[in-house]
Amino acid sequence: MRLIALLLALMLAQPLPADSNLPPAYWANRQLPDARQEARAQSLMEEVRCLVCQEQSMADSDAELAGDMRDLVRRRIAAGESPDQVRSWLIERYGSWVSYRPTTEPASWPLWLAPLALLLVGAFLVQRRIKLKARR
């Protein structure tokens, strides 16, 4: 995915994610010793965008900032925060755009209502084709 990061970096005329001289943060590429915490951290990281290489999650991105974000997420989860708390913290700073899971704000309601609406419309279209009442 480095290519994408590079291409996007070249296209954005603005903050360039060039490489720094420091190594990745400690928890960027190490798992937490507690397996359950690591699992929670991992599923959160898969649901949050990488800010630099858009269209990738924080978990998969090679970008340095993504590594630092992973470090931050792991530290917070290890300190006892819940994934929802960390997600809200990130959304406060970057907006709901940063979460791949749509939030519960009003702008997302149609997303959750749509499947129901589609099923109802579909059922309506279909019921005319099926003999639902027994014929005498």
Binding site: L6, P102, A107, R129
Partner: protein, 641 residues
């Protein structure tokens, strides 16, 4: 010279497409018989488009740098297969492939159709020509693959290393044959709406085309998913990326269409739904093409970022789909449906199947475009990704999977046999697996927890149509259906196992240290520099064991120069019960290396299932086509009547 020949062939083909369209208009307005002429025109048009494509392959094979496209996308140091595959690894070349398949399909439609109403077939050929005309215009005006670059530079810019993979040779052409194959269904539907001849005969004419396109689409999507899995190094196989969704939507529509056609062919019912699905399926193909080439989405798959091309494609989309929808709205009233279906019958089963597939299609469509709608209306930016699609489409897909087990057992018209008794064995199997899963894996997610039993139920139920009768005397089409439905079950098992039982280990490891993942103990022996034909690399030697023998894996990080880039080559070892997936990362200041390991039990079933589904389609197609070809073509009959 070669490039100019290709360009000339393209212009001629475009001219013939215009003629073909004109012939259709004449046929529908007058009583002239254009049957032989229009078929000849379609055949020559197809041959010319193919010529143009072969010319493109030739200039790539010879690394002719005076052709701008070759300069942009190739390099003399490239392995030969990637020189050829590079021809379609870019926007213009892949567009030419698209158009070649479109006109080729039209030629085959004209030459190979037998039991089809003549007027409808002529109308369909005209519609196909109209489609081709728009895309020829797009190629010739906005995306000329044969544009020259003079004076010719000594060498080219090279092909993106991510694309230098056997997957590239296979994945796009297969997908394109699938996408564009659906155009025939579109054209036949438009033709039938124009002539009013929407009936069982039309369904039987459409069926082999839809089967063929759908089979190739299934293969193409499966291949794409596997390619992404092993090439990109993140251990996942589906990201619900907008462009992945763009390939899934035509597939969902085509699957619904396939089943709807069966109802139309067997009972002459579901006319409106079948016509609409036929139009929607190819419309989704066109939407996909638009999304990938317009620059409105950022994605691994996105081609050149070019809003002007996007506008052209959007205009084509609006014209074609708009015209088809208008035709449907106007002629829809004349589509007479028969009596309602019995509640417990195969027709009802297929209708509910259609409904669920259409709802899933709607959800994927909405989820993909929703961020765009919201931003257009309120300026707010939000994201819709895997968590949404899995949460919503997942359960619906599982309900559908259960129905897939039941439907094929039902009779047409009315089910009088105790079908549900037959299902007790698969049902028990499912329930047993469900209970065992609590013992073996108490901490499983909801989707895999429900998905695994459903998959086992479906696996058992899908073979029931062959049980209790002589399998060798069952129609070939039934075999096809059984294999395809079994493939769904196999794929679901793979997905559930992957979701529930994957182990991942991520750590910094020094040479001669070990890391355990699942049942494996992996030793990092050493990390050495190495080189390939057009790259240098660092390669790790890993020795993995789980008690019986040592397996050696060598993941690499490769560095390319044309263009300059770095890629991860995962080393994957496949066993009967899963895959060991290894990736080497960056060196750590402490002297170690970042190592990422996965043990994925039964993950290969995901793609094995996909291949089975495609195989089922291929089997069904041989059965149908053989039956059709035994009859004499109608248009020949009329000559000697």
């Amino acid at each position: 010279m070669i490039a100019e020949t290709g360009l000339a062939a393209l212009w001629l083909a475009a001219g013939l497409a215009a003629l073909q369209f004109l012939l259709m208009v004449i046929a529908l307005r007058t009583t002239l018989d254009v049957g032989r002429t229009i078929r000849a025109v379609a055949a020559v048009q197809g041959a010319l488009a193919l010529t143009a494509f072969v010319m493109l392959l030739l200039v790539f094979a010879r690394s002719d740098m005076s052709v701008a496209l070759v300069f942009e996308n190739s390099h003399t140091a490239k392995p030969f297969i990637y020189k050829i595959a590079g021809a379609w690894g870019n926007h213009e070349g892949s567009m030419l492939l698209w158009v070649t398949v479109l006109s080729g399909a039209g030629a085959c439609l004209g030459l190979l159709s037998r039991q089809t109403h003549e007027r409808t077939l002529v109308a369909a050929l005209g519609a196909q020509a109209a489609l081709a005309l728009g895309f020829y215009a797009f190629l010739l005006i906005a995306s000329n693959p044969f544009a020259r670059l003079l004076p010719a530079p000594p060498n080219g810019k090279g092909l993106n290393p991510l694309l230098q993979d056997p997957g590239l040779a296979f994945h796009p052409p297969t997908l394109y044959f699938g996408y564009v194959g659906l155009s025939v269904a579109f054209s036949l539907a438009v033709g039938a709406l124009l002539t009013g001849e929407v009936d069982a005969k039309l369904a039987r004419a459409m069926r082999p085309w839809v089967l063929g396109a759908w089979t190739l689409l299934t293969l193409g999507i499966t291949a794409g998913s596997y390619w992404a899995y092993y090439e990109l190094g993140w251990g996942g196989y589906w990201f619900w990326d907008p462009v992945e969704n763009a390939s899934l939507m035509p597939w969902l529509a085509a699957t619904a269409l396939l089943h709807s056609i069966n109802v139309l062919a067997a009972r002459g019912a579901l006319k409106a739904w079948t016509m609409m699905l036929a139009v929607v399926a190819f419309s989704m193909s066109m939407v996909g093409t638009f999304l990938v080439r317009s620059g409105i989405l950022t994605s691994v798959h996105a081609f050149a970022i070019d809003p002007q091309r996007g506008t052209f494609l959007l205009a084509l989309l609006a014209i074609y789909v708009g015209a088809a929808f208008i035709l449907f709205a106007v002629r829809g009233a004349t589509l007479k449906e028969g009596a309602p279906f019995e509640l417990v019958s195969r027709e009802t089963g297929l209708v509910v199947n259609n409904l669920l597939l259409s709802v899933i299609l709607g959800i994927v469509f909405l989820g993909t475009l929703y961020p765009l709608f919201v931003e257009a209306v309120s300026g707010e930016k939000l994201s819709v990704g895997a968590p949404y699609f899995n949460a919503v489409a997942g359960p619906l897909a599982l309900v559908l999977a259960i129905l897939v087990g039941i439907g094929p057992l039902l009779s047409w018209r009315r089910e009088r046999r105790p079908v549900f008794k037959q299902l007790t064995v698969p049902a028990l199997l499912g329930v047993t697996v469900f209970v065992i899963s609590f013992i073996v894996a108490p901490a499983m997610g909801v989707l895999p927890r429900v998905g695994l039993p459903v998959a086992m139920f479906l696996a058992g139920a899908s073979i029931l149509p062959l049980v209790g009768r002589n399998p060798l005397r069952a129609p070939i089409a039934t075999w096809g259906m059984v294999v395809a439905h079994l493939g769904i079950a196999v794929s679901l098992v793979g997905m559930a196992m992957n979701a529930a039982f994957t182990s991942e280990r991520l750590a910094v490891v020094r040479p001669n240290e070990t890391l355990t993942v699942g049942p494996w103990t992996v030793l990092l022996k050493e990390v050495t520099p190495t080189a390939g034909q057009n790259f240098t690399a660092i390669e790790a030697e890993l020795r993995a064991t789980r008690g019986d023998g040592i397996k050696v894996l060598k993941p690499q990080t490769r560095y390319f120069t044309d263009p300059p880039m770095e890629t991860n080559e995962a080393a994957i070892d496949t066993f009967w019960n899963g895959q060991l997936y290894t990736v080497i990362g960056k060196p750590d200041p402490s002297g170690g290396w970042q190592l990422r390991l996965w043990w994925k039990p039964f993950v290969t079933l995901i793609w094995a299932g996909g291949v089975l589904i495609a195989l089922g389609g291929a089997i069904a197609m041989t059965g149908r086509v053989r039956r059709q070809r035994r009859r004499k073509p109608e248009w020949r009959k009329e000559r000697y009547a």
